[in-house]
C-alpha cells in the first residue's frame, strides 16, 4: 500500500499547485509531499535492508533491495531540492505567489512523481514508459526560464533522450522476445533473471546493447551526451539536482537491473560492453571537465564521469565490485545533489556565469561549493572516495587490472580538473558589485544535504549498510 501512495504524494501536490492559493501554499505543499514521500520511502528501505521485499501488486508494483536504494535516494534528493526550491524560486525564478511559481511547482511535482514511480514498477515495458515520462515531464523545467538558450537546451535534451528511449524500446521488445523464446512466464525483472540462462547469446547481446545505448542517452553516456552541458547550465539549480541526483539514479537503476540478466547469458559479453562504454564515458568526461567553461558544466560532466564509473563497476562483476557500484550510486546521488544546490546558492548570491572569490562574497555558498567540489572529486575521507576505492580494489581483485588502472588514472585527472575549476570560483578576489543574501530555506537545505556527504564517508549507519548489501546482491546475482 505504501508503495502505491509514494508516487501519488507529489501528484497531489501538483494538483494543489494547479489552483491559485494564498501565500506560498504551493511550495509548502511540495515540501510536505516530499517529506511524506521520503518518510514512506525510508520505511520501505528499512524493510528491504532487512532482506524483506515490499510487494504491493505482485508482478506489477514491488520494491526489493536495489529498488529501495533508488527509491530512497530519489525521495531524499526530492526532499532537499524541494526545501531548496522554497528559497531559490522566489530569489531567482518567479515572485512568490505568481503564476510562474505555480507553474514551476506543478512541473516539479509531476517530475518528482514520475521519478518515484520508476523503482516501484516490476515490468520492464512499464519502466520504459515511466522513464520516458521523466523526460517529458522535466522538459519544461529545463526550459523554465524561457530564454533562447534555455529553450534550445530543452529541445536538445528532449530530442536526444527520446531518441535514446526509442532505441531502448527496441531493446526491451527484444528482451521480451528472448524471454518468450526461453519459456519464461512473467515479463518482470525477476522473470527475466530466472529465464536468462536459456536465452540465446546473440539476441541478449543485441537487446542489452540497445538498452544500454538508449538509456545511456539519459545518463549522458558518450555517444549521446551532447545535451548534458546545455541542459544543466540552463535548468534551475534544484532541477539540476533532481536531474543528476535522482533521474540519473533511476535510469542507472534500470540498467543495473539488466546487468544480472545479461551476465546470466554466457557469451553475451555484458561485462565487456559495460566496461568499454563506462571507460569511454569516464575518459571523455574527464577531458570535457578539463576544458569546461564554468563550474556548472564541471558538475554536469562529472555526472557523466560517475555514471561511467558505476557502469565499469557493474561490468567487473563479483561481490566487491557490486557493493562498490551500489555504494557509488549512493555516494554520487547524495554528493551531486549537494553540489548542484551549492551551485544554486552561488547563483543566488551572484547571478553571473563566471564567478570568482565566492568565499568572500558569501561564506556559506563558498564553503558549500568547496565542500561539494572536494566531495565529488573524490577527496578522502568522503563517500565518493570510499566507493571509488572499493571499485579499484575490486578491479584488481577481479583480474581486470588494465581497466582498473585506466579508471584510476582518469579519476585522478578528473580530481585535479574539478578542483582547478572549483578553486578558481571559490578563492581569489571578488569582483562583484551587489550581493544578494541567501534565503534561509536555501541555507537549511544546504546544511541538511551536507550531513550525508560528510557522514557517509566516515561512518555508514547499519540500515544503510544493509541496504547497500541487499542492492549489491541484486546487481551481482
Amino acid at each position: 500500500m505504501t508503495l502505491i501512495v509514494i508516487p501519488l504524494l507529489p501528484l497531489a501536490a501538483a494538483l494543489w499547485a494547479l489552483f491559485p492559493q494564498r501565500g506560498r501554499a504551493a511550495a509548502g505543499a511540495t515540501m510536505a509531499a516530499a517529506a511524506a514521500a521520503a518518510g514512506a520511502a525510508w520505511s520501505v528501505a528499512l524493510r528491504s535492508a532487512a532482506g524483506a521485499p515490499t510487494v504491493a501488486i505482485s508482478g506489477w508494483i514491488a520494491c526489493d533491495g536495489l529498488g529501495a536504494l533508488a527509491l530512497v535516494l530519489v525521495a531524499g534528493v526530492n526532499l532537499s531540492a524541494a526545501i531548496f526550491s522554497y528559497g531559490y524560486v522566489s530569489a531567482r525564478l518567479a515572485p512568490a505567489g505568481s503564476r510562474a511559481e505555480r507553474r514551476y511547482y506543478v512541473d516539479y511535482n509531476l517530475f518528482a512523481g514520475s521519478l518515484l514511480l520508476v523503482p516501484l514498477l516490476s515490468e520492464p515495458a512499464l519502466v520504459w514508459i515511466a522513464i520516458e515520462l521523466t523526460t517529458l515531464l522535466s522538459v519544461f523545467l529545463v526550459g523554465f526560464t524561457r530564454t533562447r538558450g534555455a529553450l534550445e537546451a530543452a529541445w536538445k535534451y528532449v530530442v536526444l533522450t527520446l531518441m535514446g528511449a526509442a532505441i531502448a524500446l527496441l531493446g526491451f521488445l527484444l528482451l521480451y522476445w528472448a524471454l518468450r523464446g526461453a519459456g519464461g512466464a512473467a515479463f518482470t525483472w525477476d522473470g527475466l533473471t530466472a529465464a536468462a540462462p536459456r536465452m540465446p547469446a546473440g539476441l541478449m547481446q543485441a537487446a542489452f546493447l540497445l538498452v544500454l545505448v538508449g538509456l545511456g542517452a539519459k545518463l549522458g553516456l558518450v555517444p549521446l551526451h551532447t545535451w548534458v552541458p546545455d541542459a544543466y547550465r540552463h535548468a534551475p539549480a534544484p532541477v539540476c539536482a533532481l536531474l543528476s541526483g535522482a533521474e540519473a539514479t533511476v535510469v542507472l537503476y534500470a540498467i543495473l537491473r539488466l546487468v544480472p540478466v545479461a551476465a546470466g547469458v554466457p557469451g553475451a559479453h555484458a561485462g565487456g560492453w559495460l566496461i568499454g562504454f563506462g571507460l569511454l564515458s569516464v575518459g571523455v568526461a574527464v577531458f570535457l571537465i578539463l576544458q569546461a567553461s564554468d563550474y556548472k558544466h564541471v558538475f554536469a560532466y562529472s555526472t557523466i564521469e560517475h555514471m561511467g564509473i558505476i557502469l565499469v563497476a557493474a561490468g567487473l562483476g563479483g561481490a566487491l565490485a557490486s557493493y562498490g557500484a551500489a555504494a557509488q550510486v549512493l555516494a554520487h546521488s547524495v554528493t551531486k545533489t549537494f553540489c548542484f544546490l551549492a551551485a544554486g546558492a552561488a547563483a543566488v548570491v551572484t547571478p553571473r556565469r563566471e564567478i570568482q572569490g565566492l568565499l568572500r562574497i558569501s561564506p556559506v555558498a563558498g564553503a558549500a561549493l568547496l565542500l561539494g567540489g572536494l566531495a565529488i572529486a573524490g577527496a578522502p575521507p568522503l563517500a565518493v572516495f570510499l566507493s571509488e576505492f572499493t571499485i579499484f580494489r575490486a578491479g584488481f581483485a577481479e583480474r581486470y587490472p588494465i581497466a582498473a588502472a585506466l579508471l584510476a588514472g582518469f579519476v585522478a585527472v578528473g580530481f585535479f580538473a574539478v578542483m582547478a575549476h572549483v578553486n578558481r570560483a571559490v578563492f581569489g578576489r571578488a569582483g562583484v558589485r551587489k550581493v544578494i543574501p541567501l534565503p534561509g530555506a536555501c541555507v537549511f537545505a544546504l546544511a541538511a544535504a551536507s550531513v550525508p556527504v560528510l557522514w557517509l564517508g566516515v561512518y555508514v549507519p547499519r540500515p544503510v549498510l544493509g541496504l547497500l548489501h541487499q542492492a549489491a546482491l541484486w546487481i551481482g546475482r
Partner: protein, 225 residues
C-alpha cells in the same frame, strides 16, 4: 504457426513500403510531405499488425493496429496542427545538413547494416520476423539519421516518432502478445510527446522566431545559471 504465402507476401510488401517511407522521411523537402510520409508509415505499421493478426490469430494485434491508426494517423496530425504555428507547416525547402543523394546513400548503408545485425537473430522458419525485425531496425536507424540531418522542429519530432514506429514494426512480429497495457501506455506516451514538443516548438518559435534583440541584450547579463 501457419504462415500462408499470401500473408507472407503481403507482410513483405508492407515491410518494403515501410522502409521506403522511412527513407522518404529523410529526403522530403516540405514539412507537409514529411508529415504525410509519417502517416503513411504508421498506416503501413498498422497494416503489418493486421496481417500478422489474421495470420497468427492473436487478437491483441488488431488492437495494436487500431490504436496505431487512431493515434498516429488521426490524432497526431490534428494535435500538431493545434499546437504548432501555421507558419512552420507551410515551410518548404527545409534546410538539411547532408544533401539528398548523400543521405540516400547513408540510408542505404544503414539498411544494409540493419539487415546484417538482425538477420542472424531471426529464426529461419518465421517469415514474419525475418522481414519485420530487420526492417524495423533499419527504420530505427534511418529515422535516427533524419534526426541528425534535420534542423527543423517538426521534422525532428516526426523523426522521433518514426524511430518508435520502427521499434514497433519489429515489435508486432517478435512480441505480438506483449501486454496490451504497455501498448496503450506507449500510445498515450506518443500523444504526450507530441503535446510537449508541440508546445516547446511554439515557445521556440515565439521567442526565437520573433527575436527581440533589445530584450536579449538586457537579459544577457542576468541570464544563465
Amino acid at each position: 504457426m501457419v504462415q500462408s504465402a499470401w500473408a507472407v507476401a503481403l507482410n513483405d510488401l508492407a515491410g518494403g513500403l515501410f522502409l521506403l517511407t522511412a527513407v522518404a522521411l529523410v529526403v522530403v523537402r516540405q514539412v507537409q510531405a514529411c508529415l504525410a510520409a509519417f502517416v503513411l508509415e504508421s498506416v503501413l505499421l498498422a497494416a503489418s499488425a493486421f496481417i500478422l493478426a489474421a495470420a497468427s490469430g492473436i487478437p491483441d494485434l488488431v488492437a495494436v493496429g487500431l490504436i496505431t491508426i487512431a493515434v498516429k494517423a488521426v490524432l497526431l496530425p490534428w494535435l500538431l496542427r493545434g499546437t504548432v504555428p501555421e507558419e512552420i507547416y507551410t515551410r518548404r525547402e527545409l534546410s538539411q545538413l547532408v544533401n539528398v543523394p548523400a543521405s540516400l546513400l547513408i540510408a542505404l548503408a544503414l539498411t544494409l547494416a540493419a539487415y546484417l545485425i538482425a538477420v542472424p537473430l531471426a529464426p529461419a522458419q518465421d517469415a514474419f520476423i525475418r522481414v519485420n525485425l530487420p526492417i524495423g531496425l533499419a527504420g530505427l536507424f534511418i529515422s535516427a539519421l533524419s534526426l541528425v540531418t534535420r534542423r527543423e522542429a517538426v521534422p525532428q519530432l516526426v523523426g522521433l516518432l518514426a524511430m518508435e514506429n520502427g521499434a514497433f514494426l519489429a515489435g508486432v512480429s517478435i512480441a505480438p502478445d506483449l501486454p496490451l497495457i504497455a501498448e496503450l501506455a506507449a500510445s498515450f506516451d506518443v500523444l504526450v510527446i507530441v503535446l510537449v514538443m508541440g508546445i516547446l516548438t511554439r515557445a521556440i518559435h515565439e521567442h526565437v522566431g520573433t527575436t527581440d534583440i533589445v530584450e536579449l541584450v538586457e537579459r544577457s547579463d542576468e541570464e544563465e545559471l
